[in-house]
């Protein structure tokens, strides 16, 4: 009896999803269970919602989009397996990628298969079209962010008796380490003293020992490069130990949720942000809010949700520009035609060229004040070709 019911349900299930000929398949790689699931859940939902939205508006060039999703737990080997499935079984047109370790691992595959790849990794290593012609980082690269941080430290420094002292605190994985080498070089170049580097585990439960070491070096500023769910651990431990250091966190390490997670330890912490916050007054927000009210009014969203939308909209735009019969090569070329492309105001406008896959050189500096993330000013850094691919 049970078997019968199950079989009937399965048969119905298969019936509900008809194999549509006029669909464009997009590979969707997400982490819902691993150490970056704080981003992944919102990103996955943003991508799903954006695809539904585009399809309700009639699709792209008359064709519907279809996401083929794989959850990979932030494990590069599983990402490679998922990618092989995308290419050989699903025959996807492009892939919405995810983290730094997996995008790095997939580099040779993407290039060989000429597969346009919009990655959630903003690693500087992945921005050079000479090395990774098919990879398109979906936001301001980590190297530009660390340069923004160092410039900001230098500009604000008034004490003439000594140079400002900085420290880097980063997760022990490809994402955490991505901008560190460039950061060292740039600090030297502009005359900021890098006095300490602290490596923290990807999954962080306690940062006391690292912070005690850092305390002896007494940096004025520290740059934290890990994820939103682990940054509060550093902040709380630092608060407990009474460190005077000022913290700046990169784009994936701070968002609307940080004040609630770190409470008083978050006060006065700065962040570099690539996207607008949920509910902020930017042109596309009304569409997003309406969608949200119509489909899942009880959910809460944070900025990763915007990234999910942003990358999907970008993929749709490229597919549209690639014409009625898009190919991988065509989509790649189309992405490289984006010039000051309006991202609904979610980010500063994006530009990709065949010489530079850094979408923008602008971001926002934010600070946590009275339990809220408040924008301070727009910050930017020179689009220097010297730092591409670094």
């Amino acid at each position: 009896m049970v078997l019968f019911v199950v079989l009937t349900l399965l048969a119905l299930g298969l019936g509900v999803i008809p194999a549509e000929a006029q669909t464009i398949k997009i590979g969707n790689l997400v982490d819902l269970t691993g150490p970056t699931s704080d981003q992944g859940k919102d990103i996955a939902q943003g991508r799903n919602d954006a695809v539904q939205y585009i399809n309700e508006k009639g699709g792209v060039n008359g064709k519907k989009l279809e996401l083929v999703s794989v959850e990979y737990g932030f494990q590069p080997p599983r990402a490679v397996a998922a990618y092989k499935k995308f290419v050989e079984d699903d025959k996807v047109l492009l892939v919405l990628g995810y983290g730094t370790p997996d995008t790095e691992a997939l580099r040779p595959f993407i290039t060989k298969d000429k597969m346009p790849y919009i990655s959630g990794s903003y690693s500087g290593h992945l921005t050079d079209p000479k090395m990774t012609p098919y990879n398109f980082p979906g936001g301001i690269d980590y190297t530009s962010q660390i340069r923004i941080f160092l410039n900001w430290v230098k500009e604000g420094w008034k004490d003439t008796s000594r140079k400002p002292k900085v420290a880097f605190i980063f997760a022990d994985n490809a994402y955490g380490r991505a901008p560190i080498e460039a950061g060292r070089a740039y600090a030297k170049e502009i005359g900021v003293d890098l006095v300490d580097e602290e490596v923290i585990p990807t999954v962080l439960t306690d940062a006391t020992s690292q912070l005690l070491t850092m305390k002896t070096k007494d940096p004025d500023f520290a740059y934290i490069n890990t994820n939103t769910q682990w940054v509060p651990v550093v902040l709380k431990d630092s608060y407990k130990l009474g460190l005077k250091t000022k913290y700046v966190v990169n784009n994936y390490g701070i968002d609307e949720r940080t004040p609630a997670l770190a409470r008083e330890a978050a006060e006065g912490v700065y962040g570099i942000q690539d996207v607008a916050y949920w509910g902020e007054n930017v042109p596309g927000m009304k569409t997003l809010m309406d969608w949200h009210a119509k489909h899942h009014p009880n959910d809460t969203h944070a900025s990763p949700y915007m990234r999910g939308w942003l990358w999907t909209l970008m993929a749709a735009e490229a597919i549209k520009r690639a014409g009625p019969n898009p190919t991988g090569e065509g989509v790649k070329k189309a992405l490289e035609t984006l010039r000051e492309w309006d991202t609904w105001g979610i980010t500063p406008p994006f530009t990709y060229t065949n010489e530079d896959h850094r979408p923008t050189n602008r971001a926002r500096l934010v600070v946590i004040k009275d339990g809220k993330v408040v924008p301070v000013k727009e910050v930017s850094v020179e689009r220097d070709m010297k730092w591409i691919g670094k």
Binding site: I17, T33, P77, A81, N173
Partner: protein, 347 residues
């Protein structure tokens, strides 16, 4: 139909196949397997390949835990040593894969020998903790010996080539994997028909008694570690070639637990059980994933929910097997088979 069980010689008692039918079935199965890459898509080939690798790894662990009774939670470390040695031999020393994998397996054996030494004095939980040390020492070594292992970043491995043909697709590497699974299974199956294998079982059942009747505990415990880690080395080498990347997190403690679950669910002390367990543990998340994907049409958030359900289902499956069928899937299969053998005239 069999009309009785007559074993009048030692040879007949030792037979692997009691009748001709299983031999025919096995040959048929192997022939069918050889044809699979021609019809299956990459997704299912990938799953099959992972099952093949897990079979080799699980047999290795079963020889140590299920047959010799030496509990190890260091299996992920042994797999890691196999994978990294293979990758390093190929990438840094430029050896071809058919030299690199056996060499890596030999390195892993030596490694297993070293970490097997505590087994001479420790038993049960204490040994488990000692092998846990092996795991953490290995992980530490991999992450910090950056010159060789590239640290936390891991590195890509070029596809193996056979006569100039790169094994760069799942269909091609499938043949390499299953060409190694078959001898791995037969070696293990035969091992327990020999003096060495019986000594292993004697050590498991009661080591004091075994040593009294002349089984050298020193020799056989270490030998079990060596053979087990040789298997792990081969499995690790294949992992490196299948995923084409070696990466420290791919050999986390959870992997060791997964392998233990495989032999618990499949059947401790059973070669066939290792195969069933490997298949079960590899297929379960895929089945969950597929059901999630088919449900997304009806309920869009199913994907996210089911992703987190994997571990819960694993936990429940292990509790279920420990409570209701400690001898695992192998035992269930045997009961099923004997029921149908006698059907409808069961007595």
């Amino acid at each position: 139909m069999q009309s009785g069980d007559f074993r009048v010689t030692y040879a007949s008692d030792e037979r692997i196949f009691e009748t001709r039918l299983p031999i025919v079935a096995l040959v048929g199965l192997l022939a069918a397997l050889a044809l699979v890459p021609l019809v299956a898509g990459t997704y299912w080939l990938d799953v099959l390949n992972r099952i093949g690798i897990a079979i080799i790894g699980a047999i290795g662990l079963n020889i140590l835990v299920g047959f010799t009774g030496q509990i190890s939670i260091g299996h992920a470390a042994f797999l890691a040593v196999g994978a990294y040695s293979t990758a390093i031999f190929e990438t840094k020393a430029g050896l071809p894969f058919w030299l690199a994998i056996p060499l890596a397996a030999a390195v892993t054996s030596v490694f297993g020998l070293v970490f097997g030494v505590p087994a001479l004095r420790l038993k049960g939980l204490y040994l488990a903790i000692a092998t846990l040390a092996a795991h953490f020492i290995t992980t530490y070594g991999i992450i910090h010996w950056e010159r060789m292992t590239n640290g936390v970043l891991g590195f890509n491995v070029a596809p193996a080539t056979v006569f100039g043909l790169p094994l760069d697709s799942d269909a091609r590497i499938f043949y390499l994997i299953f060409a190694l699974v078959v001898p791995a299974v037969f070696f293990a199956k035969n091992l327990f028909r020999t003096r060495v294998g019986r000594a292993f079982i004697a050590v498991r059942d009661r080591d004091v008694a075994a040593s009294v009747i002349g089984v050298s505990l020193y020799r056989y415990k270490l030998l079990a570690f060596v053979i087990s880690s040789f298997y792990a080395g081969v499995a690790g080498g294949l992992m490196a070639h299948h995923s084409r990347i070696v990466f420290p997190d791919a050999f986390s403690l959870l992997v060791a637990i997964d392998y233990l679950a495989m032999i618990i669910i499949g059947g401790m002390g059973s070669i066939l059980g290792s195969i069933y367990g490997a298949a079960f543990m590899t297929l379960l998340p895929e089945v969950l994933k597929l059901s999630a994907t088919s449900l997304t049409g009806v309920y869009p958030n199913a994907f996210g929910l089911i992703a987190s359900a994997r571990d819960i289902v694993f936990g429940l499956a292990i509790i279920f097997f420990l409570m209701y069928e400690p001898q695992g899937l192998a035992r269930i299969w045997m009961r099923f088979r004997s029921y149908w053998k006698l059907w409808p005239y069961a007595y």
